[in-house]
Symmetry: C2
Subunit: 418 residues, 2 copies
């Protein structure tokens, strides 16, 4: 395909888009006109149904229904009903997942729950290259438990597998690396963790909704994830936490708020944890943000994740194929694995002036993002991206990189936050 | 006034409403037609401006702005900009308040922060009659710290003052009791806590937005509160947490997520807490829910809290005066203090069949709520309630109670949650 000229390539992409069995999903999302959105691995676009749902949540449920909506609109039950729907997307049978809080808070709960399951063990193992909040939260857990240590892949050993031993209580690991897009073998690593008698906590932020996840099948112990990336549930939307049923009786965590109580509305004086996954809840949830999950999940849950995965791999394959020559010529390096078995749904490219390249692409309507010090990230969400989109994105990328268009000072000037 | 007949009373209420300097606030809220809403101490009604703001947040900021709205729409800064505006309503100078997470999660942070400020002390003191989540969370904190104990007013001593001594690290106390509506003297209790060398954590859930709070003036240490009651920011809206500037350098808490990092977007490996109040943040916040705070705060922040307080006291005085004869006759007891110095903005009435009374009132468009085992609660929000509303509510209450209308089985049948 690399040898095709632009016209032939365009024709080929048109053909592929027309044949795409997931093509109909695109109309379920609002993608701004003229934009090719490759930052869905950071914040997914708005599902069209969310506009209507939020209108109903604001004007009917809240404004008209007021307090009675806690029952009548099912607000109080959302943590569980949405949790079970999230569960379907991550291979979790009902009753093991709740939607709540932030990923960071849920990591805190999960690590404490894991430690409680493995008393007497003194180490948490994580990835030095992890999304930072995982490590920051693990540090907070370790600081509160004298004798507990945090061991990091890339610091204490090259491979995480070599850090897991009979002292390991919990292994906190990302299913897909936020920066490189590398995908872990969940079943294999979970097996290894269990062989050492430890408990695994999977962070699914960059896989939920775009990669088939089989927590139950892998016999995973605990998991967390967000809903605002490939699940498209809105900025900072409530996260989720999973715990396998076999652990529920022994499950404990210190954020013992009233929503995790066995009888939250009995107003009992002493904390009595709910029987199942509900004991991982803490306080009152942000219902308006939570109400978007129905539209976000609804936009993809009627298609098989295997189909989303197949298209995702085809999109990332195509992008890498189309940009590789320019990358090689200009000293940029594709850091995302080429092997589909170890690749998530993004393509990351290391380039010293990556920040400026991303800005130049944004100016051209191709939205990726940048992670310090040098990583350009392009997320490929199969639900709303097509093959022609990838072609256009790759052409813009090649033009910016090969033509040095990123050197413009409009693009090289850094901003405070991203 | 109790001797006035209905016509004369109606005339008097009309006069009072016409003379009410806060009368104009009412149009800022959507209160359903024909409803007298006395559950604003549970969930406040929708500010009209919130409809427009949410539409903008959904359709412009998220749907069109996508990731760049973290900067361009100020999403990332909301925790602080809204925190400072919340600060103005609770007597906190800028830089001491952030909007984030749930009250329960913030109590957890605040108690840990307090313990870190008072190493070597071994007790948390709280109220046995506290809103339960405060106690549940305190239990979670205590369980994680061997040697730490939780002492409760009403259990370990009759008065909280008698539990505070040189072993007390933190005193967790509600400014207004959720059940009785009793108001604490913040300055006096804070002084007493400090005299014993301890740190106070004020829970402002039932006072923020309706009672002048002066955290800085009282030299309070830490505080938490919600924004969905008298601040009318939506169901489960993000809560807030306050820490006095003098404590910031020594402030620490275990939920050390990336939003509390000194440089959240530097993606550093080690946790380095932000310099000020930001270190009490943890994870990514639910932006859509957060976006309602602007309208909620905006609806009351241009009037003095002293004016809201004066009207609130007038409304609760009036209600108590009008329902007292019926209560006395039917064995119901007003449990809210009559003294304005010790009264919040609600009237609570204990009655064995209070659940049914509340249901009968709801059927008549008068919305109060019920807290087990026997407490009817009526919240009086001066921003959207008038004197004629109170008259109508009291007349409905008297009719239901005196006429025994609550005995209808439609009203006596209990529901699962409230």
């Amino acid at each position: 395909m690399a040898s095709l000229d632009t016209a032939a390539l365009t024709e080929e992409m048109t053909r592929r888009d027309a044949a795409d069995p997931l093509r109909h999903l695109r109309e379920r999302f609002h993608v701004p006109a003229g934009m090719i959105y490759l930052a869905g691995n950071s914040l997914g676009p708005a599902p069209v149904a969310a506009f209507r749902d939020m209108e109903a949540a604001m004007r009917q449920e809240w404004a008209e229904g007021l307090v009675k909506s806690w029952n009548d609109a099912g607000w109080f039950a959302l943590v569980g009903t949405l949790g079970d729907r999230l569960g379907r997307l991550i291979g979790a049978a009902p009753g093991q997942t709740v939607a709540c809080d932030s990923v960071s808070v849920n990591i805190y709960k999960a690590l404490h729950a894991a430690l409680a399951l493995r008393p007497g063990r003194n180490a948490i193992v994580a990835e030095g290259g992890s999304f930072p909040t995982d490590l920051y939260v693990a540090e907070g857990v370790v600081a509160g438990r004298p004798g507990l240590v945090l061991k990091l892949e890339g610091v204490d050993a090259a491979r995480i597998e070599d850090l897991i031993d009979e002292n390991t209580a919990a292994v906190l690991v990302n299913h897909v690396d936020y920066k490189t897009g590398a995908l872990r073998d969940m079943a294999a690593l979970t097996r290894l963790v269990h062989d050492k008698g430890a408990v695994v906590v999977w962070d699914l932020c960059h896989s939920a909704g775009v990669i088939p996840v089989d927590l139950d099948g892998a016999e995973a112990d605990l998991a967390v994830g967000c809903t605002y990336k490939y699940l498209n549930c809105g900025p900072g939307a409530p996260a989720f936490i999973y715990a396998a049923t076999r652990h529920h009786d022994a499950l404990s965590q210190p954020l013992s708020g009233w929503w995790g109580h066995a009888a939250p509305f009995a107003f009992e004086r002493g904390y009595r944890p709910a029987g199942g996954i509900q004991r991982l809840l803490c306080g009152t949830q942000p219902i308006l943000s939570m109400r978007v999950l129905d539209a976000g999940l609804g936009a993809i849950e009627d298609v098989p994740l295997s189909a989303l995965r197949a298209k995702s791999l085809a999109l990332t394959d195509l992008f890498m194929e189309l940009v590789e020559p320019a990358c090689r010529a200009r000293g940029a390096t594709i850091v995302t694995p080429r092997d589909p078995a170890t690749r998530g749904s993004q393509v990351s490219i290391a380039f010293e002036n990556g920040f400026a390249v991303i800005q130049a692409l944004i100016a051209r309507g191709v939205i990726g993002d940048f992670r310090a010090p040098d990583t350009m990230r392009f997320g490929f969400a199969p639900a709303y991206l097509g093959y022609a989109d990838v072609q256009r994105a790759a052409e813009a990328f090649n033009e910016v990189l090969t033509g040095g268009l990123w050197r413009d000072e409009r693009y090289t000037k850094r901003r405070a936050v991203t």
